[in-house]
Symmetry: D3
Subunit: 228 residues, 6 copies
């Protein structure tokens, strides 16, 4: 049955791996994992240029109620990312500059939330990065219980507390905690390959040729015609 | 029955109160009023950093037709905000840089519209702030009548002509004209309380403690568990 | 029947006309054509301030598959704009910095796509402008055939290869290739008229008067009332 | 400021007028009022063929919380329609067969709600008609206060308690209480005119001719061409 | 440039072919054409069980204005289907029982519209089938010109006047007029193949085997595992 | 890393419990579990009156590709429900009457899918119940691998193979396999309580009284006012 619980301690991935995943960026990490983990295009940054990774402290709340965000703060450690999902869609501004002040004081690296946030001008000025579904000044009540550090679902992805959250201008990608090193290894390989490809492509070589796609197009039955 | 009317004169709130509400910002004003007045997250700024308040001159138009915006201009006074709703959803770009030129000439502070706007690069360059549902270069006809300075509805909120429109990066909040002073008093109190809270939170104190939420969580049946 | 084809050669409009259409901007061009050609407000720029025009190289792809973008690259020439539609809605990030590197190497001016793009921070840094429906780091497969340089549909508009694509902060407008000169003539007239109107409006004259809208409002049965 | 109140007594329109408005149907009543009052296409019937009108008992609730529906029941009288709006979007199933049992016991004619309902098979079997935005089995809490018999907004329309709610397969139309007789008079005229028109149209006469639209098309600049 | 025109005469496909395409149904015809022509899932029937095909008489209208539907009626012949698109999204109820009375009098088989319709209970009772994006009792004006029998776009598909419109419970599919016979031949083949497959599948044979998909799964790298 | 796998054997809940959960219905089961498990209002039945439960055989597919549905069929047993999610949103009609023929031959009770289905008239005639996000005749390719009987996410809920899927007119609810008995016990209690409440409510007693909500409203600060 459904209980409302707060789990105090969670396992986290190796901080060095997390930092290097941040640097790799979401598109690379997502590809390196075999194209999984993207939470979807509806979760957007409120700022431009932020690029972070951290350990997920998860919150499951009720639409229009942010009491569980308050409960989550003291469980956050430096290097964490707060990740908030709700039991049903919510447009409310569940998070603003005061909660961000608390999180910054604890070394938290950012917020990912499938509802709204407010005080966005302040959040940008404070340098606290946020990825959210909405921007909304509509505040919340503090009346309905939820949970902290339980598995949550966001946009097609299950997120366990302690999973690595990567976020940048392209959105948010989740890496399972146990897969962090694998994701990093894959990301390094991919970055190397991309660097090599980039210089060839810049020189005018065609990916169609060096990826071997010309044959595949023929296999797929694509016909070339000079002119209609 | 439904008539199409233009009301020439409306009552406005005290300009000093309006200016201080602008400064307080939408999140604070919205909370100070008891969490009402937000028009919804679908009305978004086309610029970053604008923060205004003004008296609503209201327009009720027909989708794809902007003749009533033209009618509204001469009724605007310095310090007003033009607020445009339509009788049905519309994605059209009903407003652009020429209308903005007229409004700037009359001292109007901004536009809020539940349809689209265009010439957005020019509008940003001119410093005329706009909150809209869409950006669209699709122009309109001038064939179907509507009304000016009648009550309109935007995103769950009824707006009377003369109501105070507050708008910033978090969206748009409406304060009933008669409630402007009350809203300001509440906003001041809230800003004071937030300033006090902010320094305590920045020092690492927990809102969970000084807002008394720890007990409430227990009352709500939330259980704490050390580790799963 | 539906075949998958790649057309190598297409006709393009006069480059000087294209460049001047870019300068005119989407709102002006759209009006000059009689208010047609806007692909809709769901196709948005990932950057601010870009203002381009070019000849459409069109791609019709399958959701979640970008093999046909690779096929299209070698058909692009300096001054082209790649325009990508899918046979069904897709949120995938079908395009990123490597494809942009190839397109830049060929002198392509930008991308318009009714799906997602990724590496958006890089794309902005590279100065390669993009208009897309989504931002998404979710990558694609290369398994399903499509076509290049066939007519495609985007948001209510049919686009032929070689049509002129105009794109700026207000969105994307398509001008039929054969109509490019007409569109330019109309745009010039409109720009002249707007310049004249702008200075009169800035001086406080009312469009209501010099557009003759006052009589039209009366004809439409709009009543003026001093005060409710 | 925002208080949570329950108003016990409201004024209602003449029951005979209400019943005849039900019979006229939403499309006719809406036209008769000058094309106003439609709450929008997102509020849909869960059944087919119901056609009702009644006096609005209004509820303003919190997303995911149905305590105020319980509060509203004892204020309902025979011939009323319960109309529920929320302070923010909600997909929850806020209403089911038990609340319907209570409402049927009090002679209430139906429910209009901008959230979800559940037990829809039972509601259809009971013959209790419902118009809602969603169908959802997701239940609610009873923790956050709201109001009963205050003005609410639904989809672009302000609804006062006691207004006449007309609902059928085409959706929901609101008639201001004081306008009920006018709406009825207009509806009768329109029904008469439609009956006359219908037989002429059925006989093959063209509305283009007897509505005088042929001239209007010419005035609007529409050209007739035999064949392309 | 954009002119508003009404084309009186259009070419139509062979009526016998059209009737047989109706019988084949949209899913079969769509597959037979190589999976093209579906206008999208947003165009839905207001009734259940209708299954028609006919020649498209096309209308391009303005949001909230149905004057061009009136213009189109006299151009319709027995066996036609009226297909209505708008220059921008519209939720209005642009069509109701009076227009249906006219169309029935002329032998028109149905309506496809990317806006709303009303009088839906009457339309069902009259047996006039409709596929629309919305149901809405909100009526329209008759003020803005459009065109009849010009190419229109609906949901990703370009429709030429005279194209064959197939519509049933699965939605609406367009067959180019010149492709009608090819579509029919393909549909017949497909129906034969499906009949054969259906009896084998009903007997428990696996499509995985007789479509040869088992090998393809292995080629695609899918691994079989007995149990996790 | 992401592999594409097909798991042949899964554990299922007790069939008698499953059957009784079907009878209880989604609203009751969802409440009995503590209001969890609803996949969301976007998954809708294509028929009216079906009420089923079964063991989930899960499919994770690629948008526009149904090869993994074919792979899943031979793993289905009598009493199962096929549950299909995609790695990104898809509107395609991934399922039709031939696949349903196979599933019926294997005793499968229904389909739940977050994409589209087609042949809906046939599916209703066959008595094979379906819950889907879209109806679409647009067919798919068979080119991209996925997985069968892996955990999937649908609308905020994680679904494990073997979980109990309950579906009726109110939507789809998932019960974890290990919680099936608990869910049933809770459902029985709730059904008993509802039966008792229903007769009291039908007799005119107020839930406000016998649920003790009157006091709660006062505690929440709701004020009663006789008349405005």
């Amino acid at each position: 049955m459904n209980r409302h619980i707060v789990i105090r301690e969670i396992d986290r991935a190796d901080p060095d791996i997390i930092d290097e995943l941040a640097e790799a960026g979401t598109a690379t990490v997502h590809e390196a994992m075999g194209r999984i983990g993207f939470v979807g295009p509806h979760i957007r940054p409120i700022q431009q240029g932020a690029k972070i990774a951290g350990s997920a402290v998860t919150v499951l709340g009720h639409p229009g109620d942010n009491i569980m965000l308050h409960a989550a703060i003291e469980l956050c450690r430096p290097g964490d990312v707060l990740v908030v999902a709700n039991t049903a869609p919510s447009t409310h501004g569940m998070f603003g500059d005061l909660l961000a002040t608390s999180l910054l004081a604890r070394g938290v690296r950012g917020l990912v939330i499938d509802a709204g946030v407010r005080d966005t001008a302040d959040l940008r000025a404070m340098g606290f990065p946020v990825w959210s579904q909405y921007v909304s000044c509509q505040g919340t009540v503090k009346s309905t219980p939820g949970s902290v550090n339980v598995p949550i679902v966001m946009g097609g992805i299950t997120i366990q507390p302690g999973d690595v959250v990567c976020a940048d201008d392209d959105g948010v990608v989740i890496v399972e905690r146990e897969q962090a090193r694998t994701a990093l290894d894959g990301s390094r390989s991919r970055l190397d390959a991309e660097t090599a490809a980039r210089s060839r492509l810049a020189a005018g070589e065609l990916g169609l040729d060096f990826y071997g796609l010309r044959e595949r197009l023929l296999d797929l039955g694509v016909e070339y015609i000079d002119r209609l």
